[in-house]
């Protein structure tokens, strides 16, 4: 289809056990921009996100039908290279999860898996990734200390750097600022604004204002259904579906 | 990527093979014991073997009833000694004593779990049995002596597992109970023991398993007479000691009879396992 569409989702149904978590979702994710996904708790946002890098494979009872095309190739196909997909589609979780190792080792984790052994190359990757995540200045003198000593906001930026270090094409963010204070949130958003020039970003957020601030396009999920998707300004100013309107103006959710 | 995929596959198969190692060992052991023991039981007859108390290998009489009774009595006796002391110790160290003391005492107790059972047994022979003989009568080497020694032997296991269970009860439970005006003891009795119950039971079961299976210490202190004990001062022979005592000398039918004793021991332990598991499940269901 369109060269500027990175991910095409067609009729995606997801079941977890007997619960139908997504119902016939069809959506195009444009390349090099930020797609915000909003919706109340339990609307299927996170399930959707985790389907895009096949992390739901770890969930007991998970089953998906439909197609998810990443650059035209179906990632749900039986023979798909799951590990390869996950390398191309990075993910940042709701709570920062620094692995209990040094800052350097955290960021170098992905490149090392990919086979990079040279200390110099690793150093460069770590430095550039930390810079891109706006963390370099704060930690450059203590790369070998434990990542667990960082503050919550720093930890989340470290996780972002860790994702960037493996040079993905798509970055999934699952409510990355839900546990952070406004200042830390601002720093993450700042980083995202710069990153969208190079990456396809999907940002799930509970905070509709955040979507309004950073997303180029916004999708609204409700009870497993994609209600509406479009340019952020349209979703927030003149949504076509009344449910979207109710949600963005804060009638429920 | 292909190399990685192959490696991943190989690892998985290696792990599956390893996962069956325990099962394979168990089967191998069971086959060896049953192969030698079951034909004997068939030949002598299950009833004669299980329900007779006469054990005289030279005369060709093989009955293990007295030993089954003795094994159960010794284990039960050891639990009467070890379980209350172990659990009481665990409660006291966790709830009524300062952390600092607990931090010193608990590793010291765990150290005792590593002392060889033969050392316990020998102390039983030279220190405990004479006391029993002088003050209570009988030969000293007896059901009582074996129970005391085994009880002390399983004490560290019970105490340390129960203490772990009690210390993992969230502090908020304690504070909640105390905030409602409970005394320390009431909070222990009504809240903590309930919450830590499955862990405490697990500790007792571990101790029980160790007591049923213990051999070398029991050989030294139980007197090893084949008889259904009439009192705690009588000497007894358990299933495990019967095997260890005579295996070195047994040939032919006698040897098979000892393997058959092993089969009985195996079954007794499986039954005890099943019973305790069922009890644990009930405990969970009641929660």
């Amino acid at each position: 289809m369109n060269a500027d569409v990175k991910i095409e989702v067609r009729n995606l149904d997801v079941f977890i056990g007997n619960t139908r978590a997504l119902r016939g979702v069809t959506i195009d994710v444009p390349a090099r921009s930020i797609l915000g996904i909003i919706g109340p708790a339990g609307s299927g946002k996170t399930v959707f996100l985790r389907t895009l890098n096949r992390l739901n494979d770890l969930t007991r009872g998970f089953r998906a039908t439909g197609r998810v095309l990443l650059d035209g190739a179906d990632i749900l196909a039986p023979g798909a290279d799951v590990v390869g997909i996950r390398k191309r589609v990075g993910m940042l979780f709701a709570l920062p999860v620094p692995l209990p190792m040094s800052i350097f080792d955290n960021v170098a984790f992905g490149p090392r898996l990919a086979g990079t052994r040279s200390r110099r190359t690793l150093r460069q990757i770590v430095e550039s990734s930390l810079k891109a995540a706006f963390l370099w200045e704060e930690v450059k003198d203590r790369l070998n200390t434990s990542s667990l000593r960082l503050s919550g906001g720093q930890q989340q930026r470290l996780c972002l750097a860790r994702v960037l270090a493996m040079e993905p094409e798509v970055i999934l963010l699952d409510e990355p600022c839900s546990g952070l204070d406004p200042v830390s949130t601002a720093r993450i958003e700042e980083a995202l604004a710069e990153l969208k020039a190079r990456y396809t970003i999907i940002l799930v957020t509970n905070n509709t204002k955040q979507a309004a601030r950073v997303a180029c396009n916004t999708a609204f999920f409700l009870m497993g259904e994609l209600v509406e998707v479009g340019p952020t300004s349209k979703i927030f100013i003149s949504p076509s579906d009344p449910r979207t309107n109710d949600y963005v103006i804060g009638k429920f959710g | 990527m292909v190399v990685r995929w192959i490696a991943e596959r190989a690892v998985k198969w290696v792990l599956i093979a390893l996962a069956f190692s325990a099962l394979a060992s168990l089967l191998l052991i069971a086959v060896f014991i049953f192969k030698e023991g079951v034909p004997f039981i068939v030949r002598v007859g299950l009833k004669d073997f299980l329900l007779s108390s006469e054990w005289d290998p030279q005369a060709g009489r093989f009955g293990v009833f007295a030993m089954i009774v003795a094994s159960l009595c010794v284990t039960f006796g050891a639990m009467i000694v070890g379980a209350p002391l172990g659990v009481a110790g665990a409660i006291f160290l966790n709830e009524f004593v300062s952390r600092r003391i607990t931090r010193i005492v608990k590793p010291a107790i765990e150290l005792l779990a590593g002392i060889p059972s033969v050392v316990y047994g020998f102390i039983g022979v030279v220190a405990v049995a004479p006391l029993i003989r002088e003050h209570l009568g009988g030969p000293g080497l007896s059901l009582l002596c074996a129970s005391l020694i085994l009880g002390v032997m399983v004490l560290p296991t019970i105490m340390s597992v129960a203490a772990d269970a009690i210390s993992s009860v969230p502090n908020s439970y304690r504070e909640g109970a105390l905030a409602l005006g409970a005394t320390r003891w009431q909070s222990v009795r009504m809240v903590i023991l309930k919450a830590a119950r499955s862990g405490i039971v697990a500790g007792v079961i571990l101790g029980l398993g160790r007591a049923v299976g213990e051999t070398m210490a029991v050989i030294m202190v139980a007197g090893n007479t084949v008889q259904v004990p009439g009192s705690v001062l009588d000497p007894v022979r358990t299933l495990t000691t019967n095997i260890a005592l005579e295996m070195g000398h047994a040939t032919g039918l006698h040897r098979q009879a000892l393997f058959a004793t092993g089969v009985v021991l195996f079954v007794v332990i499986m039954i005890l396992n099943a019973l305790t598991m069922a009890a644990m499940k009930r405990g969970h269901a009641g929660k």
Binding site: D105 | P57, V125, V126, G140, N224, E246, M247, G248, T251
Partner: protein, 269 residues
Amino acid sequence: MKGLKNAEKAMVAAATAAALALTGCGRNQANSITVAGSTAFQPFAEKLADQFMARRPDVRITVQGGGSALGIQTALSGAAQIGMADLVKLPPEAAGLESITVARDGIAVIVNQGNAVSNLATDQVRAVFNGTVANWRNVGGDDRGIRVVSREAGSGTRSSFEDILGGFRLANDAIVQDSNGTIRETVANDRDAVGYLSHGLLTERVKPVSLDGVECKEEEIVAGWYKLVRPVFLLTKGAPSGAAKDFIDFVLSPEGQETIRRNGLLPAR
């Protein structure tokens, strides 16, 4: 990734251990002998093996206990090149083995040092151990109950003891101990106890009683007066050969026999 390194180290260590284990296979079988069986003779065999290896550094002898039956069994299966047995009558399955008498051992009937009894007739010993006499008064002692302490069924000492005395069954309520040492401790600690053990392991902690007026002493045993004597056999599958033969020859040599005598057993003849 410190943890990774540790895990790797553990793996390397395990692999090294496995490799070492495998290279061990290459040892020279011909000059390595295992001697196994009778626990009573085990210490003597260890001593003799040390002496033998001092003059024959090319041979390695390993001595294991386990009991006479195990000696027979392992000699038959080949797990041991030489079995040790100390039974008066070898069981039928030992028929396929060569047996060489290398020593003799007296069996002493022992009582507590505080016991007044110092002599028993053969009949009395039989009656005491089968339970028909249950009070020391009946055999010339104080008015106290008798506590019989015996070795376990099948033990070389016990079978020999029973075979020599002939025709009796051990009292049902006898205490059973599975070694000379624990028998000795039990009798030493219990005023009413009576037991039996290898003559070589007598100490002043217990009191041996005379049998029909014959003391359990080396001279009496050598002279053939003392009745409770059993042979110690070394067993081989087929006629002994190679290092095993050399070792047995050494045991039978004057030096070997002197070692046996000095440590409390009696020479073969």
